[in-house]
């Protein structure tokens, strides 16, 4: 103990100053070593981080079995994690099927909020702008100065990249690693930032230490570069050798052929082409296959061997839509028609062609509908004759019609003027089917046969002719197959009294006579029964009108001798419909008094009051049987 104390004595005896100086030097060395150790640690950590930030997309995509919680910054081209609850769950979840090194590298990525996440690509990871790049670009924009970082996609020019080979300025190390992206082999910026942080925390007394560290680091980097250069030379030589060997082999081998589909599929499944560059091309390939072949079904084989079949299924539109649906479809069709035809004139022509194809009635309705939709007033498609027919049908006077026409804009409304309508009326009055003669007793049509033929022709042209078949004894309609042949004048047969065979093609006409109205008049009407609504006034033919107070036999015989012969001729000759002659089956449809007048019957006071059988007037017990 004393010896030790003695031996320690001279040391202690050298003086407190020397001891303090030695002690200070040892402390300084320890601190220097610690600082160097921490700098190296930071340097290697930075290298590690730098290497993880440049992980390929396929590895990152593989690390996320489901949702990808990483993104690549389009400004700095680095990969970051996207902080979220899903990321937290992913970090604490075990993935035994993945390589631990890959998982550790991906988990070591920095979690930086993404400012603008773009759409996820099919074969890569999402792209976005990290928070720091975003803030930097924003500050640059505010300063109206060119930003130091290029926010848009694309690598940074190498000349702007600070490397460790070049002199390092500590002021430039305040940025993050994006400024050093590119060809920098090591992460000098991270080291510089850490050194700067150490410099700030250590205070101004350690500034010279930081300078020394920088110098040491530069020397170290030069050494590394030198080693790298040698290694690169070896690699380049070996590559040139391999290229020469492959050239010789290709010169000897047959011309290269494209990989087979099975090889390409194997490559695709192995993930060799699942990156950002090949994604759009793969999409184009898939679109070309699908659009060219138009396969009826798509078969997708899953990783577990299960095969899913997707079949294209057309969803037909409802055949009978409601009104709003029909209007919507019509509007869509019109717009498509206008797009296809490229101009309004062509669209009108195409619309007219479509309307003609859909039929005359549909054409008129489509035209009216188009006219309703169009803002500009278009002329009505009705001729003056058609307008006059509607005027007469609805009992509008020409004066009232002219007033409405002037309100609607005169000739621009497309309505005919009074002189035009009068001229049309005169033209119509000259037609044989509409010519009217006035006699002493009343007025009647000149040519009844023409009137019936005109009505039947119009009815047949509009597809409104409804066939009326006669039923047999078993109440089943008998088809009409035979054409009518009129009897000769000298044959003496009377088609009125004798019915034509039921299988003969015929036209049903009902002749009516009745007195009524105010002023009182007797009217003779011929009704064509081949319409859906035969009793509508526009479907009847007014044959004659006589002013009379009663429809007695004497007056009626005097009045009707003008046109009853026409009726007989009509029944004998028949009418021609669609090029074939049909028999006229005449019915009497009027009240009991008019029936008695037609038949010359006594009426209800007669003993045989019925016109169709021999029944007597007196009620008997047989009625109650």
């Amino acid at each position: 103990m004393a010896r030790e104390r003695t031996s320690a004595g001279p040391a202690c005896g050298r003086g407190a100053t020397d001891f303090a100086r030695d002690r200070c030097q040892s402390t300084y060395a320890v601190r220097m070593l610690t600082l160097l150790q921490s700098a190296l640690l930071l340097f290697f950590l930075s290298c590690t981080l730098r290497s993880t930030c440049s992980l390929p997309d396929a590895d990152i995509r593989r690390a996320f079995p489901k949702a990808v919680w990483a993104y690549r910054c389009t400004a700095c081209s680095d990969v970051f994690l996207r902080p979220s609850n899903g990321l937290r769950a992913w970090k604490y979840r075990a993935f035994p099927e993945l390589v631990e090194v890959l998982l550790a590298c991906v988990r070591a990525l920095p979690a930086i909020p993404c400012k603008s996440l773009r759409a996820t690509e099919d074969f890569g990871i999402p792209h976005g702008t990290c928070d720091r790049c975003y803030c930097r670009s924003k500050r640059a924009r505010l300063r109206k100065a060119p930003a130091e970082t290029n926010v848009v996609d694309g690598p940074v020019p190498p000349s702007a990249t600070p490397t460790l080979v070049a002199p390092i300025l500590c002021e430039k190390f305040r940025g993050h690693s994006s400024a050093a992206s590119g060809s920098a082999p090591v992460g000098g910026s991270s080291l510089a930032s850490s050194v700067a942080t150490t410099h700030v925390s250590a205070g101004p007394s350690l500034s010279h230490l930081a300078a020394r560290v920088c110098t040491w680091t530069r020397e170290r980097a030069e050494a590394l570069n030198k080693a790298d250069f040698e290694r690169h030379c070896v690699v380049r030589l070996s590559e040139q050798l391999q290229a020469a060997q492959s050239a010789i082999a290709s010169a000897r081998a047959p011309p290269p052929h494209s990989p087979s589909c099975s090889k390409f599929l194997a490559l695709l499944r192995s993930g060799a082409v699942w990156n950002d560059r090949d994604g759009p091309t793969l999409q184009q390939i898939a679109a070309a296959i699908l659009l060219h072949d138009r396969p009826p079904e798509f078969r997708v084989k899953r990783a577990n061997g299960r095969e899913s079949v997707y079949v294209k299924r057309m969803s037909p539109l409802k055949a009978r839509g409601k009104r709003s649906q029909r209007n919507r479809r019509s509007a869509i069709g019109s717009s498509l028609l206008a797009k296809v035809s490229r101009s309004q004139e062509d669209a009108d022509v195409a619309s007219n062609a479509q309307s003609v194809a859909m039929g005359a009635v549909a054409s008129c309705r489509a035209t009216v509908a188009q006219r309703r939709r169009s803002k500009a007033a278009q002329p009505l498609p009705l001729t003056p004759e058609q307008q006059l027919r509607l005027i007469e049908t609805y009992g509008v006077s020409l004066t009232a019609f002219n007033g409405i026409r002037r309100v609607l804009g005169g000739s621009r409304a497309g309505l005919a003027s009074q002189p035009v309508l009068r001229a049309a009326r005169a033209r119509l009055a000259d037609l044989p089917a509409k010519r009217v003669t006035v006699t002493r007793t009343g007025a009647h049509l000149v040519n009844l046969n023409e009137a019936v033929a005109e009505k039947l022709t119009a009815l047949s042209a509009s597809n409104g002719l409804v066939e009326r078949l006669i039923r047999g004894a078993d109440l089943v309609p008998i088809p009409q197959t035979e054409a009518y042949s009129p009897p000769s004048v000298g044959s003496g047969s009377c088609p009125l009294a004798a019915s034509s065979p039921p299988n003969e093609k015929d036209v049903h006409l009902a002749l009516g006579l009745d007195k009524g109205g105010s002023p009182s008049s007797v009217k003779v009407v011929l009704v064509l029964e081949h319409k859906k609504h035969p009793h509508r006034l526009s479907n009847t033919i007014l044959v004659a009108v006589y002013p009379a107070e009663k429809d007695s036999y004497d007056e009626a015989s005097e009045m009707q001798k003008e046109h009853l012969q026409q009726v007989r001729d009509l029944v004998r000759e028949g009418v021609v419909v669609n090029g074939e002659r049909r028999a006229v089956r005449l019915f009497l449809s009027c009240d009991y008094e008019a029936l008695c007048t037609f038949h010359g019957h006594k009426g209800e006071s007669g003993t045989m009051s019925c016109l169709m059988c021999y029944t007597t007037k007196t009620a008997c017990a047989s009625h109650a049987d």
Binding site: E392, V438, A443, L475, A498, G517, S589, G600, M612
Partner: protein
């Protein structure tokens, strides 16, 4: 049968007067009697009026003449308030065709007026008449081709209607319209498939058109006025529906607009309010009373004739 021996088919010049069978003038038009339409509109109006008059005759026969007129007034008021129909003065003071259909549908309201006034047997018989008539009138005036089952149903109902009328109310005579209904209407229906298509509605419509536009067609002479009407109708003959834009609204489903609750506003009793002015109401009441007086007078005369015939032993 009917088509062979009907008097209408006999030639006037070659037969003697006795064989004319009540045809004493030369027929203006010789026609197959099977093609004489069984006047559905006039049968409807005539039979409806006859059934209403039968109720008055029932009251006269059971309660006497003094009760007949008040009952006729009550009947007219019931038709006005319950069935909501009124006689049309321009139609001879009787009900028009549409009102006849409404009365047939509301025949129960007419039958209820007889409750307690006539024996139960007569009330039930009268009610059955209305039930049969309701079936007949639906087929008679519908302008469509009817089915085979409906033809058979019509024939059986027509026979049953007339036989039941003659059996339960023996003083009712068989008019030509009733004869046509139970003898010829079913034949026409089974041969041509419909009666309403061939009906006389169109000629009645021409009367209405002339009434509405009489001023427009007026001329120096009546014949010229008639000529204007014929020209206008000839011009309007070709007016096509294709020129018009018609609404494509479909009718509601059957029963969609029926009252489902007792408090539904569709029911007339729940509508309330003054939906009718005083003057038209008084006019309708006055015309209804006129109609009631006419059917009472006619029913009284009919019953008196029957009684006189019964007294004579006929």
């Amino acid at each position: 049968m009917a088509d062979t021996f009907a008097p209408a088919t006999l030639r006037h010049a070659t037969t003697s007067r006795l064989s004319h069978r009540s045809i004493d003038r030369a027929p203006l038009l010789s026609l197959d009697p099977r093609r004489v339409v069984p006047i559905p509109l006039h049968i409807t109006m005539g039979v409806t009026t006859r059934l209403l008059r039968l109720a008055v005759e029932l009251i006269i026969s059971c309660r006497g003449r003094a009760v007949g007129l008040p009952y006729a007034y009550a009947l007219a008021e019931t038709l006005r308030t319950s069935v909501r129909v009124s006689p049309a003065p321009y139609h001879g003071g009787v009900f028009i065709g549409r009102a006849c259909h409404a009365i047939a549908e509301g025949g129960d309201a007419v039958c209820r007026t007889l409750l307690g006034l006539v024996p139960e047997r007569d009330h039930v018989a009268y009610k059955r008449l209305w039930a049969l008539w309701r079936k007949l009138v639906r087929t008679l005036n519908r302008a469509v081709d009817v089915s085979l089952a409906e033809v058979r149903d019509f024939r059986s109902c027509a026979d049953l209607f007339v036989s039941h009328l003659k059996l339960c109310f023996p003083w009712v005579s068989i008019s030509p319209k009733l004869h046509i209904l139970f003898r010829h209407a079913a034949d026409f229906l089974s041969r041509f498939g419909s009666i309403g298509i061939y009906g006389e509605q169109s000629i009645e419509a021409s009367h209405g058109f002339y009434n509405q536009n009489a001023v427009k067609f007026s001329a120096e002479t009546e014949a010229d006025g008639c000529a204007n009407l014929v020209r206008a109708m000839a011009t309007a003959r070709e007016a096509s529906d294709a020129s018009l834009v018609r609404s494509t609204r479909r009718p509601a489903k059957d029963g969609a607009r029926r009252a489902r609750k007792a408090t539904d506003r569709r029911l007339n009793v729940n509508r309330g309010g003054a939906d009718e002015c005083r003057a038209p109401r008084e006019k309708a009441i006055r015309e209804g009373r006129q109609w009631a007086q006419s059917i009472f007078a006619e029913g009284d005369r009919t019953f008196a004739t029957v009684l006189a015939r019964f007294v004579r032993g006929g």
